[in-house]
Amino acid sequence: MQKRLVKGNEAAVLGALMGGCTHFFGYPITPASEIAHAAAYYFTKAGRTFLQAESEVSVINMLYGASSAGARVMSASSGPGIALMGEGLSYLAGSRLPCVLIDMQRAGPGLGNIWPEQSDYNMVVKGGGHGNYKNIVLSPDGAQEMFDFTRAAFSYADEYRMSVIILGDAYIGQIMEPVDIGSTVDHGKRKDWALYADEESRENLITSIFMKPSSQGQHNRELQQTYRRVEKELVDWEEIETEDASVIFIAYGIVSRICRSAVALLRKAGLRAGLLRLKTLFPFPSEAVLNHAKRKVTIIVVELSNGQMCQDVRAAAQYSTRIIELLKMGGEIPSVEEVVSFTQKTVLRSAH
């Protein structure tokens, strides 16, 4: 197994090309610009297409067109850009077009700053635009998963005819780690619904309009059925030392790695800590959360937001156990030491 030292942002582009992506449309925004830079180099060199669009609104509509034409397509942006893509994401969902996006989250609201946050959670995990739709949302914790998740995203997108969003953060893009890029390119297949400018596909229609409420209702119900299938088939998480744990962290992205360090330190100090690392955010690993909640463990949600993901944890736990939040915003991130001492204090408090 030959590995290459690659930055998370670049790994995503390698993953995209190995995942059969042929078209990247981009618009610069820190901390996602490096993905566009790498795509501009690799896609162009490989005879694929990289195009810098005039705005994120144009990006999402170029993706809409290129996806209609059967290609595996992607872009990368950050909060302000993803917000501009909201209408387009909704159209993609309504027209059932596959698409892959990467959101390297930065701090908000407004222009905020370019330090990491996880405050796009609601926008991305709940949909982002108008209507009853979902995106598949994956949360990588390092360069290898930036590669793996991006590569896999294209087959998920095609299989379910949905947008897949890789929800990263400023740090995950910056980390350089050994990455195994594998050896097979997954090109995907001809899609029977797409337009190929030939006789066979001429009848195909890409639209999100169903004029009669009953037809639009049926369309919506079919979308929900797809989401239920996604929930069954794609949900993924990692359990780290949770089996005997009395305290379990729930986290994703860079925070999950901080918590992983905290688990090791807490165990050394005699506290049975564990970590539930979320790899998919939609589908949300509700069952895994509930299983632990039923055992009455203390759950500590560590998150770089005002508790957006924690809402889903509480719902999944059905309010059956103690859930505590360690929240940071604005680009601040908790140190391992802080997580450890917070946890020790929390446990002490509950012992009294």
């Binding site: 030959q2 590995k3 290459r4 030292l5 190995m18 078209h23 901390p31 060199k45 490989a46 005879g47 694929r48 297409t49 195009l51 005039e54 705005s55 609104v57 144009s58 170029m62 809409y64 067109g65 290129a66 209609s68 034409a69 290609a71 209408e87 387009g88 159209y91 027209s95 700053n113 370019i114 390092g142 400023a170 740090y171 910056q174 980390i175 350089m176 780690e177 050994p178 890029i181 050896s183 097979t184 390119v185 337009l195 190929y196 400018a197 030939d198 006789e199 001429r202 229609l205 890409i206 639209t207 999100s208 309009i209 037809s215 790695r257 901080i258 992983r260 360090s261 991130i333 140190s335």
Partner: protein, 479 residues
């Protein structure tokens, strides 16, 4: 007209239409139906029905896909030129019809149309100027004439408040790229014939790959103009034409420059794989040298090769079969000239990659020493660039060494390689990586390969210096 005459490119029976499937959804006297028939006939004549993809906008023509027996995409409001760009970049031989109203194109979609035109996308855009937002019931459009009353200008459009009507053909013609820009009207038999010709030229240009064609068509909306069909056509002839002159603004057909495709050839899987793997993979020795994770922070200012020093160290650790993470200082910090990178090496997978408590600090200037020195673990090691740093350390629980990294790098005429000296010192003084693997990883870590020999020599100089000078802590800690 509210039934479309037959063309093999149009369905005869509108099965996609929920409701009366024999007639179109356009009002009597509306220009859309006439123009759409012309487009269908031109597609038929050019023999490109199978390659044609019709982009329906948001507006009264949103349901164009009821009628066109071609590929169909319904687009969001104003974005057809972006959608068309996406389609054409995937299917260069498709014939894409961008069909847009004035609210769609000149209002919400102004950005998309300007940029598609400016790129010279291989598209044919039909811009239906009916000076109103038809579908939403007759509000002011960017093209609404001055003093005209609409739902949102009940007292008439005023230039001071609403701006003047936008003449889009003129705007598009001001760009360099478009191949064909023309304004027509569907107000009389004579103009209908001219429009028919323009439609055909616009589509043929796309088939011939001549570039971007833009055809503006003044088109009646009797319903919102509150006029009869005849009055509407007269209104175009007598009023609209005064402001929107009918003419050909750009016609590059005689130049006949087929747009060249300058892209790189499409790589097959093997070529792609070797592009992605590159020759950047360091050789593997599979002999871990450490038994517990080690954190190394290299810090200084931009230009000292901090990040590539970190890459060298990381590649070298990887060659030992270790897991490794490399995390640079980030964002605004870098603008101020500060640079740092934290490399963690471990024989198992690395949890947090952050620089909380380094085992080793390679301090390449004074400020970075001050910033990081107290974070170094007890029993850890600080290596100082003694050319630039003469500060107090103020700790006696760490090992401290000094090496004139900047001076050595300058002497070797590669001042940006000062970090190589520092990393070499680390390799000699610690078990993190071996000097051998560092040397073997040099090629994979250098951005400028032509400096390989100079870097290698510098490494040897550093190695010799350290082995002869560093038997004891040599830096004055000034505790």
């Amino acid at each position: 007209m509210n039934t479309i005459e037959t063309s093999s490119v149009l369905y005869t029976h509108y099965e996609r239409k929920e409701g009366n499937q024999q007639t179109t959804h356009y009002c009597p006297g509306c220009g859309h139906g006439v123009i759409q028939k012309m487009i269908a006939s031109a597609i038929e004549e050019l023999g490109v029905q199978n390659r044609a993809i019709f982009l329906s906008p948001v507006g009264c023509s949103v349901f164009s896909y009821y009628y066109y027996d071609t590929g169909n995409i319904q687009c969001s409001h104003g974005r057809a030129p972006a959608v068309g760009t996406g389609v054409k970049r995937v299917l260069p031989d498709s014939v894409v019809v961008c069909y847009q109203g004035d609210g769609d194109l000149a209002g919400i979609g102004m950005t998309e149309i300007i940029h598609a035109a400016n790129r010279g996308e291989q598209l044919t855009v039909f811009f239906i100027n009916n000076a109103t937002y038809g579908m939403t019931g007759g509000q002011m459009a960017p093209t609404t004439l001055l003093h005209e009353k609409t739902l949102t200008t009940p007292f008439g459009r005023e230039s001071e408040r609403d701006g003047k009507p936008l003449a889009m053909a003129e705007v598009i013609a001001s760009l360099d790229a478009p191949a064909y820009v023309r304004r027509c009207a569907v107000s009389s038999t004579k103009e209908l014939l001219r429009t028919r010709e323009a439609v055909r030229i616009g589509l043929k240009n796309q088939v011939d790959k001549l570039g971007f064609s833009f055809i503006e068509i003044l088109s009646p909306c009797p319903t919102n103009w509150k006029m009869s069909a005849v009055e509407s056509r007269n209104h175009i002839e007598q009023v609209m034409k005064q402001f929107y002159p009918l003419k050909t603004f750009v016609d590059k057909r005689p130049e006949n420059v087929c747009i060249k495709n300058n892209s790189f050839p499409l790589m097959n899987d093997d070529e792609l794989l070797s592009l992605l793997t590159g020759d950047l993979t360091a050789r593997s020795f599979e002999s871990p040298v450490i038994d517990s994770p080690k954190t190394i922070t290299i810090a200084g200012f931009g230009g000292q090769g901090i990040l590539s020093g970190g890459t060298l160290l990381a590649n070298s650790a990887m060659a030992h079969g270790l897991d490794v993470s490399w995390l640079p200082s980030y964002g605004p910090e870098m603008r101020g000239g500060k640079a740092s990178v934290t490399v963690i090496v471990s024989d198992s997978s690395i949890p947090s990659p952050l620089d909380e408590k380094p085992d080793f600090l390679l301090a390449m200037n004074g400020p970075s020493l001050q910033y990081y020195k107290d974070k170094v673990k007890t029993g850890g090691t600080i290596i100082v660039n003694s050319t630039l740093v003469d500060d107090e350390i103020g700790r006696d629980d760490v090992n401290v060494y000094g090496i004139p990294a900047t001076a050595m790098a300058q002497e070797a005429l590669i001042p940006s390689a000062a970090s190589v000296v520092m990393v070499t010192s680390l390799a000699v003084l610690s078990e993190v990586v071996s000097v051998f693997s560092l040397k073997e990883s040099l090629n994979a870590s250098l951005k400028r390969r032509e400096l390989l020999d100079a870097n290698m020599d510098l490494m040897k100089t550093a190695e010799n210096y350290i082995t002869s000078n560093f038997l004891v802590n040599n830096y004055n800690k000034k505790v």
